[in-house]
């Protein structure tokens, strides 16, 4: 087959589109729930067979068409159709339970698990595979090495993240203080037994200081824009219209007793501030507070229109102190788990996901993640990082 300039590009789109249509047909006659790839060890077998298939095809197939398949022309068509599918994913809400039947039947509500996405991805990986094998001969040239890192890196990421997704476990574990738990829910339904138990020793939340709010006490309209200037920090002072406010004292965890605020160790507290409010004629010291789910905020009325109060504080950090007991009896005591600061144990990552409050009792919500394919995916990601760095250095070949 002669693959000249004229037919090269159209053919590339024709093949990718044909694959898409085949995928769409299968999708139409499938369950409309999307593909769930098989778990370990079937997925590793599929991956190995796929790799062997690409290498064998590359080795035994010698025609102009094969050459075309490892060329830039076939690549452009494949990436474009793949990109358009991702683009549709960007416009249509994914995994939407309210999606219309048409959207659902076409697989548009779960594109990354649709048959056509699978086929196009596999096609892209085959072309990528050919390209990598073509260039691998001169891998020790600097430019070819950068090429290899980028192309094999992305191959590894797409291939292993896809087949590995079947083995990904994300488990939610809500836990009360001083409670010990060994079981948790996956996808809110399946109960999973962990190879260790977790005891929550302590859970606490630190907040940012709230802002002082000036508002009209008839219309409830907020008058000042909440900003760093009005932060309820000790000794901070600011003014609104003719009123000056000075923060004399703050109590982040306060309870009210007889119209005054005191520091408290209970979990139902609010942020309170003792402030001096003054204008040209008068000066008063008053309490204001942010309120909480069981108590309203404390307001100080300044004049006929203006009153002040505190906004609800925003969370700065929430921390779980846990003790892990592995099944073999080993104990890891008083670990700190925070957002952005997970703990790794027996191949599981333990995350601080969030918290909840039921009848005044705080619940720490932990997430436990197991992703056995993570190291391989990370090899790909790191190859891409280094490859991009080299590409940045090299620029385009002239």
């Amino acid at each position: 087959m002669k693959t000249n300039r004229k037919i090269g590009y159209p053919l590339s789109f024709v093949i990718a589109l044909a694959l898409f249509l085949v995928g769409l047909l299968i999708e139409l006659f499938s369950s409309h729930k999307g593909i769930y790839l098989p778990k370990w060890p079937i997925n590793i077998i599929i991956l190995v067979v796929f790799i062997v298939y690409i290498i064998a095809l590359n080795h035994f197939w010698n025609s102009d068409l094969k050459k075309w398949f490892s060329s830039i022309k076939s690549t452009v068509g494949a990436i474009t159709i793949y990109s358009v599918l991702v683009l549709v994913m960007g416009f249509i809400t994914q995994n939407d339970e309210n999606a219309s039947n048409l959207v659902r039947n076409l697989g548009l509500a779960h594109i990354n698990r649709s048959w056509y996405f699978l086929l196009i991805s596999a096609y892209l990986l085959i072309i990528l595979g050919f390209v990598i094998l073509k260039r691998i001969k001169n891998i020790f040239k600097f430019r070819n090495f950068a090429f290899f890192l980028n192309h094999f890196g992305i191959w590894l990421v797409i291939a292993t993240a896809s087949v590995g997704s079947a083995d990904l476990q994300r488990i939610t574990l809500p836990i009360f203080e001083s409670q010990t738990s060994k079981f948790a829910y996956e996808n809110d339904s399946t109960l999973i037994e962990l190879p260790f138990s977790i005891q929550l020793n302590d859970f606490y939340i630190n907040n940012f200081n709230p802002n002082v709010i000036f508002f009209n006490h008839h219309s409830r309209e907020i008058l000042n824009e909440p900003s760093v200037n009005y932060s309820a920090d000790s000794a901070n002072s600011f003014s609104y219209e003719n009123w000056n406010v000075e923060i004399l004292k703050i109590i982040p965890d306060a309870v009210m007793i007889d119209n005054e605020f005191f520091k408290s160790d209970t979990s139902i507290t609010q942020f309170a501030a003792f402030v001096k409010v003054s204008n040209n004629n008068q000066s008063n010291n008053v309490w204001i507070s942010s309120g909480n789910y069981s108590a309203p905020s404390t307001v100080a009325v300044l004049d006929d229109n203006i009153a002040i109060s505190l906004s609800l504080p925003q969370e700065k950090e929430y921390t779980s102190i846990i003790t892990i007991t592995n099944d073999d009896g080993t104990k890891i005591e008083n670990l700190t788990v925070q957002v952005n600061n997970p703990y790794k144990n027996l191949g599981y990552d333990i995350y601080q996901q969030g918290f909840d409050n039921i009848n005044g009792q705080e619940i720490s919500i932990l997430e436990i993640v197991k992703d056995p394919w993570l190291p391989v995916v990370y090899v790909g990601l790191i190859m891409l990082t280094i490859g991009s760095l080299m590409l940045f250095w090299l620029g385009k070949k002239r």
């Binding site: 300039r5 830039i72 690549t75 452009v76 990436i79 474009t80 793949y82 990109s83 991702v86 683009l87 994913m89 960007g90 416009f91 249509i92 809400t93 994914q94 990354n112 993240a161 990904l168 994300r170 940012f208 200081n209 802002n211 824009e225 909440p226 900003s227 760093v228 932060s231 925003q314 969370e315 700065k316 950090e317 929430y318 925070q338 957002v339 952005n340 600061n341 997970p342 990552d349 995350y351 996901q353 997430e367 993640v369 992703d371 993570l374 995916v377 990601l381 891409l384 990082t385 991009s388 760095l389 590409l391 940045f392 620029g395 385009k396 002239r398």
Partner: protein, 265 residues
């Protein structure tokens, strides 16, 4: 501090940039041109000092809200413009980049944001600053390719196309794409630390991936095939539109209301 009041700062920066760009544009003498550049630099320095002031005052990196990222953009775009001018002697890039940055300063001026200290726990990470700055840098660089794409399409329409324009575009795209890749990868590493998984097809992630893919298409269209000028220019323009959707648009698209990447209310 008065010096950092937006009502004073933004008009001052705009004035510096307009005067600087005019001097640079009107005069032929290189020394006088350089005075124009110095005046533009003064505006850049002013924005820079504002960012430092905010960083100190807010006790957190000012990279959380769209308004804050706009300031970084207004800082980086003219810097990228200057670098490109000195590297490839592209005179037109100065006025274009200053114009682009001015638009962002004007947006910030007309819709001022409130800056508060709160930084949600998910953002408190060593990845926060590199992830966002790398992206802002990539966006600044790639905005130049948008201008090139428009210029190129205009030249094609007039049948006066200059191949050198594509060489410049290719060079800039390679640099911008490298940064885009870093942004995506840093984001993935960070997501694993903060949210438990490196990729969840969150709308912001999907749009960042779309942007990355379309620049990837451009690179492949241009690779060893100089004849693909017209489709390449269109892809370049389109890619930047997707970049803008990723940056701003995801806050408005109905398909993205469930995004975990929401930090400004």
């Amino acid at each position: 501090m008065m010096l950092f009041d937006f009502k004073i700062l933004f008009p001052a920066v705009l004035l510096l940039w307009i005067i600087g760009a005019l001097i640079f544009y009107i005069f032929k003498n290189k020394k006088i041109k350089n005075i124009g550049l110095v005046i533009i630099s003064a505006g850049i320095l002013y924005i820079f000092s504002l960012i430092v002031y905010m960083w100190v005052n807010l006790e957190r990196p000012p990279l959380r809200t769209l308004g804050e990222t706009r300031l970084w953009y207004a800082l980086l775009v003219p810097i990228v413009g200057m670098v490109l001018y000195f590297r490839w002697k592209m005179k037109w890039i100065i006025s274009y980049s200053v114009f682009l940055a001015s638009v962002f300063v004007l947006i910030s001026y007309s819709s001022p944001e409130n800056f508060d200290k709160a930084l949600m726990p998910a953002l408190q990470s060593i990845w926060f600053v590199p992830h966002v700055i790398v992206y802002m840098f990539a966006y600044s660089i790639l905005s130049v390719t948008m201008l090139i794409a428009l210029k190129g399409l205009l030249m094609l329409a007039k049948n006066k196309f200059d191949e050198n324009l594509m060489i410049t575009a290719d060079n800039i795209v390679y640099v911008g794409f490298a940064f885009l890749t870093f942004g995506l990868l840093f984001g993935a590493f960070w997501a694993k630390e903060a949210w438990g998984h490196y990729w969840t097809w969150d709308p912001k992630e999907t749009w960042a991936f779309i942007t990355w893919l379309f620049y990837l298409i451009y690179i492949h269209l241009r690779y060893n095939h100089k004849e693909n000028v017209k489709p390449a220019l269109w892809v370049l323009a389109l890619a930047f539109i997707f970049l803008l959707v990723c940056w701003f648009g995801v806050n408005y698209l109905p398909s993205t209301q469930t995004s975990v990447h929401t930090y400004s209310s």
